[in-house]
Amino acid sequence: MDPTSAWGMVWRGIAALITLAIFSFLWRDNPVYKFIERLWVGVVTGYWTMLLYYTSFTDKVRVPIFEEGQWWYIFPSLLGVLMWFRLSKKYGYVSRYALAFYIGISTGVFIPLTIKTSILYQVQGTIRAIDPTWTGIMFGIAFLGILCSLSYFFFSKEHTGVLGVSSKIGIYTLMIGFGAGFGLTVMGRVALLVQRVIFLRDYGIDLLGGGL
């Protein structure tokens, strides 16, 4: 759509109104914000429903069962239907069978995969030689930081003695890390805000410049 055509201006106007309405929440909660919030929830639910229908539902339920005759896809669908029984007072318990599959499979997949990516990979990455160079020494300090930070997460031992010292250094290291994370994020968020401001500015220019 041509953004300066009549319809383009109308749609962009709607977008501009929504932008201003959401920003108005910064001032205070107000009826306009509330209206947009509720409308948004309705619209997004409708969109999401149709999106799931055309993608996952079509690929995993409709096509395999009804078009390709892959009868074994009936089982996950049946379990999915069991979830609806949660709404019934009497038969609510049957939804637990579906939940059991859902949780059992998710956690079972998760266990070895997390050992691989969060433990093995990460520990592997920390094993390096500490050479007598600037980089080497910095790595040595970082390594010490990792050991101390991890020692902060010992739960079953009182943090006294050596563990007390290391966990203290650990929490200091964690705090420095958090501060850095906070400071680094400002840039990206401001960039997003500027995009909204520029969107409003351009729409304003087109509107005043006789776009309509």
């Binding site: 910064l26 001032w27 160079t133 600037w134 980089t135 910095m138 400002v186 840039m187 401001v190 960039a191 805000l193 500027v194 401001v197 520029i198 500015r201």
Partner: protein, 282 residues
Amino acid sequence: MAWYDRLLAVDRRWIYLILAVAVVIPAIWTMHIPVSLSSEVENVFERVSGIQDGKIMFLAIDYDPSTMAELSPMAEAILRQVFRQNGRVVLSSLSQFGPAMTDEIMTRIAGEMGKVSGEDYVFLGYKPYPAITILAMGTDFRVPFPTDYYGDRVDDHPMMAGVHNFDDVEFVLSLAGGNAADMWIVYGNAKYGVPLALGVTGVMATDYYPYLQSGQLFGLLPGIKGAAEYEQLNESPGDGLRGIPYQTTSHAVVLVFIVLTNIAFFAKRSAQRKHGMQAGLS
């Protein structure tokens, strides 16, 4: 209510308002704010400044449209500078979706500055397998690229006479949005000893500083800040520097907030201590 109490309990809407002003003003009116310079960017600038009067540098455009916002300002600034100095440049692309984008940038800038393919620049094009391509270019650019992106024989280009491999260019600068950067370090720098600098996205930057320390890279352009610094050194404001003013003002506002809130906090604490001491004495 003491001044510090009022400051500590200030309505947050004042904070929103001040930040909004700090962002909106530079976003609507163009203004120029200098960025602080870092040595890794200055090093790249100095080396590129040396590409004068017929000298040749190698520019590897190894990113694709997904990281264009951060890396294209660097490519543009560097190409303009080299052409202004009458330097020449050999380009390649190791990213599958990079060549069309490279061609667009190259043709546009060459058109603006009246530069000619084959005399002032040669765009070799794209080849898969980055490691092999870099290794092969180390022997002769013609091994992986007998013809350039436009299908012309490399040997037919006057500027390529006597230019065979990395020994014949001053240095390599790779603008990379992915692992091509590592390939250049391992195969280009470690195997052939090519002087190498990288331009990378802001997120990637921390991974490459150690190579700067170890001397494997002579320079690094980190993300949009690197692009802005470069444009400032080059005195040619572009998308990099345009993104800076509102970043500077908004960061400054947040920093001032932090200072103010701490001044008020300590003022209150010392007042309380004094008060506590007097209470204790009496």
